[in-house]
């Protein structure tokens, strides 16, 4: 199965709603009119794209339409909208390719409570194991009850070692130890789990900075990637989360989860657009293999695809 169709399958529900919705809006109009734009606006807003980004996307769309259209046929809207979204998502992804060529490459995982960090780590581990990389995990969520147990259990299932110090330990110390051990034993990838924290809690954000600094002491370039895990059902608060996590822990990429429900995850669009943080992976299911590397044009096409589209 090709990447596009796999991604499309993963985004089936999203697509069924959004792509289908946009198609039917377009086909219900005989010409490009204000009502058509209003309906598109509604569709994008209900996909959590946010009002500012929605208006900006529609503005670009109008310009494109002005340049192209002479007869007012709404059919062109579909491709132009796909292009517009692609253009919003692409620059960040192209400017910042994944930085995982080091031995070890360190990935720090951050996010608010319940966004799906630990599950994402399991999926990322599986993803890298498939590429024959040696992966080590660090249980630096020492705050939430049983968080260490959870990641250790995943480690057992995947046959991967987990560096841990138990509940209440200093997370920076766990990260430091793990990196030391990853260096000494020649691991390719070290993934560091951190406690979920709401981004407006100053103390907890300071703790994150400390983890960041502790790793820098071991390796000035570490962490090579900092992934912000974002719950796909989150609304406009996602942008605020990304902004603050970017300030305090230098987020280099987004992982969006829970897109196997009916949520459309449109909140990543304002994050890419306003903060230039690229989307790296998409979580599209509960199984370990349900994680896809992100490709902007495939994403835009899959997001807006409808049934008659095929590979």
């Amino acid at each position: 199965m090709g990447l596009f169709s796999k991604l499309k399958n993963g985004l089936t529900k999203t697509r069924a709603k959004l792509g289908g919705q946009i198609r039917s809006i377009i086909s219900s109009h005989s010409k490009i009119s204000e009502e058509l734009y209003d309906e598109l606006e509604e569709t994008l807003i209900t996909a959590d794209v946010g009002i500012d980004s929605t208006l900006a996307i529609l503005e670009t769309l109008r310009e494109k339409v002005r340049k192209v259209s002479t007869n007012g046929d709404p059919e062109i809207i579909y491709d132009l909208l796909t292009d517009t979204i692609d253009e919003v998502m692409r620059p960040a992804a192209e400017e910042k390719p994944l930085n995982l060529g080091h031995t070890p490459s360190v990935i720090l995982i951050v996010g608010v409570n319940g966004s799906g960090k630990t599950t994402t780590i399991a999926k990322l581990t599986y993803h890298f194991l498939k590429q024959n990389k040696k992966v080590l995990l660090a249980a630096a969520d020492t705050f939430r009850a049983a968080a260490t147990e959870q990641i250790v259990e995943w480690g057992d299932r995947l046959g991967v070692q987990v560096i841990q110090q138990g509940h209440g330990a200093d997370p920076a110390a766990v990260a430091f130890d793990a990196l030391q051990s990853a260096k000494a034993r020649g691991f390719d990838i070290l993934i560091v789990d951190t406690a979920g924290r709401l981004h407006n809690k100053a103390n907890l954000m300071h703790e994150l900075e400390k983890i960041y600094r502790a790793m820098k002491k071991q390796d000035p370039e570490a962490p090579h990637e900092v992934f912000l895990v974002l719950d796909g059902t989150t609304g406009q608060n996602a942008l605020q989360q990304a902004k603050i996590f970017q300030e305090t822990s230098g987020v280099t990429g987004l992982v969006i989860t829970k897109l196997d429900g009916t949520a459309k995850g449109g909140a990543v669009i304002p994050i890419c657009r306003e903060l230039g943080i690229p989307l790296r992976f998409i979580g599209i299911g509960e199984k370990m293999e349900d994680l896809e590397p992100f490709d902007p044009s495939a994403f835009a096409r899959a997001l807006l695809a409808s049934d008659e589209d095929s590979e």
């Binding site: 959590d48 049983a146 147990e149 719950d231 609304g235 608060n237 009916t262």
Partner: protein, 442 residues
Amino acid sequence: MFDQLTERFESFFKKIRGHGKLSEDNIRDSMREVRRILLEADVNFKVVKDFIGRVQEKALGQEVIKSITPGQQVIKIIHDELIVLLGEGQSRLDLSGLPPIPLMIVGLQGSGKTTFCAKLALHLRRKGKFPLLAAADVYRPAAIDQLKQLGKQLDIPVWAPGQANPVQICKDALVEARKTGRDVVLMDTAGRLHIDQEMMDELVKIREAVKPPEILYVADGMGGQDAVKAALEFAAKLDFNGVVLTKMDGDSKGGAALSIRAVTGKPIRFIGNGEKPDALEEFHPDRMASRILGMGDIVTLVEKAQETVDQESAEKLAEKIARQEFTLEDFLDQFKQIKKMGSLDQILGMVPGLGKQLKGMELDEKELKHTEAIILSMTLEERRKPHLINGSRRKRIAIGSGTSVQQVNQLLKQYEQLRGMMKSMGKMKGRRGKMPKIPFPM
């Protein structure tokens, strides 16, 4: 909580309040603004549409346009409609029937069910109940461990037999509760997607097996447009009774709260607003409407104070103030009481009109800690007779508390000012014969 929503409304109201006259166009423009505010706050698109429709219809009515203060009228309409949206009247947990009463806690993954279970157990125990927690999430790795650890922290028993059938676990939990004299059983179910039929059916089976009078749906307060879809699906399958909103201590605008209530018609029962087990609030729609619109919530504040401040010591303090014997020891006491009530910005957020002024001003909890440290570094005698504290004592106190002499001076000055204020309050007592029950040092 709802801070940004509040802020937007405040600046919007400021704009329209000034208008001596509102034309139809003005009203339509202002409705566009309200729409934008609500959409940015993640209120569901359809809910916004209905809301705007209703407000606009009323606002375009003759009363508003003819009124001398049309801006105020519009604000009142928005306030009233907001209360309608949030649900009129307070809703209470239904704990009727023969104990042990089963309560089912359901929701999507990561919405905060397990944490809420622990909070609710603590809340119920404070109300004189004997809760039992039942660990029915057999899917997420270590979910059962998490509940066990929380139970241990709070000293509340957890039923976790280590078997794989959630229906059986819940049934057995009731048997266990009967045996051990527990009157409420909180069942922590696994998180699931609303479109996962098999998992949704499992919840229905649990419901049929234990027949709970109350099923609570836990929703993430940061949820977006899709929040209502999941809630509607759970409502259709399970017909839950109440909604719990979690993570409301973030800076989310909380629009999902408005939407879920509006589309399911189910009342919001609780709000989770912190990591600590006691960070749980009962939900009051009218107070919340006022808070969203920046009108403050003094009732919750007073209740919170009554809950945490012990009555006897409050009365003793009132007496002391009346006799002008308020010492630094009492000052320290007051600090501790306030700290028990929650974080400073939470408390201040409830004071009417303060929201705006506090914006951008960082509330420094550290400063409170310094104050505490300074007083703790004084001898008992010094705390009772602060006038004893001379230069060399100040130096000693500063070193002992890790602060500077200036900070010590500042605190003593504040204390003197406060005493001055209290003196006049003491005189007031003589005239009016009434003392406030809950004195605050600020």
